[in-house]
Point group: C2
Chain length 283, copies 2
Amino acid sequence: MKLVDLFDHFLIDLDGVVYVGDKPTVGAEETLKALRQFGKRLIFLTNDPRGSSRDYSEKLKKMNIQAGPDDVITSGMAIAHYIKEHYQLNQKKAYVVGSPALKEEIEQIGIKLSQGEDGRKADFVIVGGHSEFHYEELKYATLAIRNGAHFFATNRDPVFPAPEGLVPGTGAILASIEVASGKKAITAGKPEPIMFEVAKKVLSSQERTAIIGDRLDTDIVGGKRVGIKTILVLSGSTKQDEIPKSEIKPDYVINDLRDLLKEQAPITKPQVSNKSETPNSKP
Amino acid sequence: MKLVDLFDHFLIDLDGVVYVGDKPTVGAEETLKALRQFGKRLIFLTNDPRGSSRDYSEKLKKMNIQAGPDDVITSGMAIAHYIKEHYQLNQKKAYVVGSPALKEEIEQIGIKLSQGEDGRKADFVIVGGHSEFHYEELKYATLAIRNGAHFFATNRDPVFPAPEGLVPGTGAILASIEVASGKKAITAGKPEPIMFEVAKKVLSSQERTAIIGDRLDTDIVGGKRVGIKTILVLSGSTKQDEIPKSEIKPDYVINDLRDLLKEQAPITKPQVSNKSETPNSKP
C-alpha cells in the first residue's frame, strides 16, 4: 500500500518540505506533479509572513511546481481571515508591524492602516517579522496595546534559517512588544489552529486529510490539535534520531516526499502502532 | 527620633525619588542638602542606561542638587564593572546594542567595539535600551550569541515613563534577543545585586546603609537581597494601597524625602514590627 492512497487532501509545509531556502527538496517536483495527477488537493502552508500567497506561488513556479495563489496559505493571510471573522472592522484602524505583504493582507480585509505616530491610536496591532523592525514600531505598538488595541501576530517562530545562520523571526520581535505591553498576542501560524481552520474552509471536507511537515513543534503539533493525520518528512529541520526523544509523535515518518508514492512502505510508523496497541491492551 | 539618624550612607534611586521625569520631587533639593550637611554619604543609582554618570550629575545640578559623576552609578557602569572584573578582555570585541553613553562605558574598560555586520563575530554582547534599536542589531546580537558570545544587559525594566506614556525599556529589547538566541543575559540593574556591589565598593562600609527607592520590585527587592535596610518613598510609581497587597515589605515607608528629617516619625513601618513579632510568637 502507498501512503498517498490513504488521503485525498494534503496540507504541505513549504520550507524544509518542498524547498530548503531556494533549493527544491529531492523529488519535490515529480512527487507533487504525481499527486496532482492522482487528483489530490494540495494546499501549501507557511508561517513565514514576509511574502504574499502570490509571492510563494511564483517561487514554486520557478521550481516547476504548479500552485496558484489560492493554493497557498500564509500566516499573514490566516491572521487577516481571523480578524475579519471575529471583529467589527468598520471605521477601525490597524497598526501593522510587518512586511509590505502583511500590510496588504490586512488592508484587503477592509481596515485602514495607521502610519508612524498615528499607530498609537490604532484599534488593532498586527505583528509579523520583517527586516525593517525598529524602536519606533515597538513604541507605537506598545502605546496602542496599552491603550486597549486588540493584539495579533502571524506566528511565534523565534528564528528562521538564512544564509548567515538562524536569524530572528516574528517570535523575537513579538516578544519585545509582549514584554513592553504586558499582553499576549493571538497568533495564527502553526501550531495554532487558526491557520488550519483557514485551510479547512478551502477544503470540501476534513476527511482523509494529512499535513506533511518537517517540524514536530509546529506542523505535527498543529495537525494533532485539529485532528488530522500527520506526516513528518526528514528533508528539513528534524533528524531521525530526534523522533524517539520527542513527546510529539507523528503518525508517519518519511525520508522525503518520494516516499509518499512508494509501494514498499519505507514509512516508519512506530508511533501509530504503539498508540493503537494501548487501547487494545486494556483489560 | 529621625529616620536620618539611623544611617550614614544612602543609596538613592533617581527617577521617582529625586525627580519624576524632569521635575524634582517635593523637598528633594533641601533634604539632600541637609543630608550632606549632616555628613551623610549619598550615592545615586539609576537603571536607566541611556545616560552617563556625567549626564545624570549635570541633570541633578540643574535642579540645584550637588552630585559629582562619582556619586552616580548607572546600570551601564555597573555591567561594565562586572565584565571587567570577571573576564579577560585582551584582544576581545564587544557588540553594544545601546546608547552612545553605554558604548563609551564599555570602551572605557578596554574592549574594542564591533560595528555593524562585524557584530556577529563579537566575544561579548551588551544590551541597553535605546531609541535607535533596529532589526540589524537584533540580528547581529543573535548571531554573535548563537556563536558563543557572552551575553549581558544593563537591566530588565520592561517600560519607563515618558511624556507619551509607558514606553519600551531595556527589558523589551532584551526579550527579543533572548528569544532569538535562546539564551538569558546577565543583568546588572536593580534588583540584581551587581549594581549594589558596585555601590558597596564606593562606600567605606556597608554598615548603617539604606536604599531609598520608589519601586518594590527593583529598589526594595534589590536592597533586601544584599542585606541593607530599605526605605520606600511614595513620590514615584508605588501608591500607599499597593503596599499591603505586595509580598515585598520595605523596612520603612515615607511620603517624600522630607520625612527623613522629621522628628515626629511619620514613618509607617508595619512590616518591620510584623516581622520581628513572628519569631517571638513561636512557642
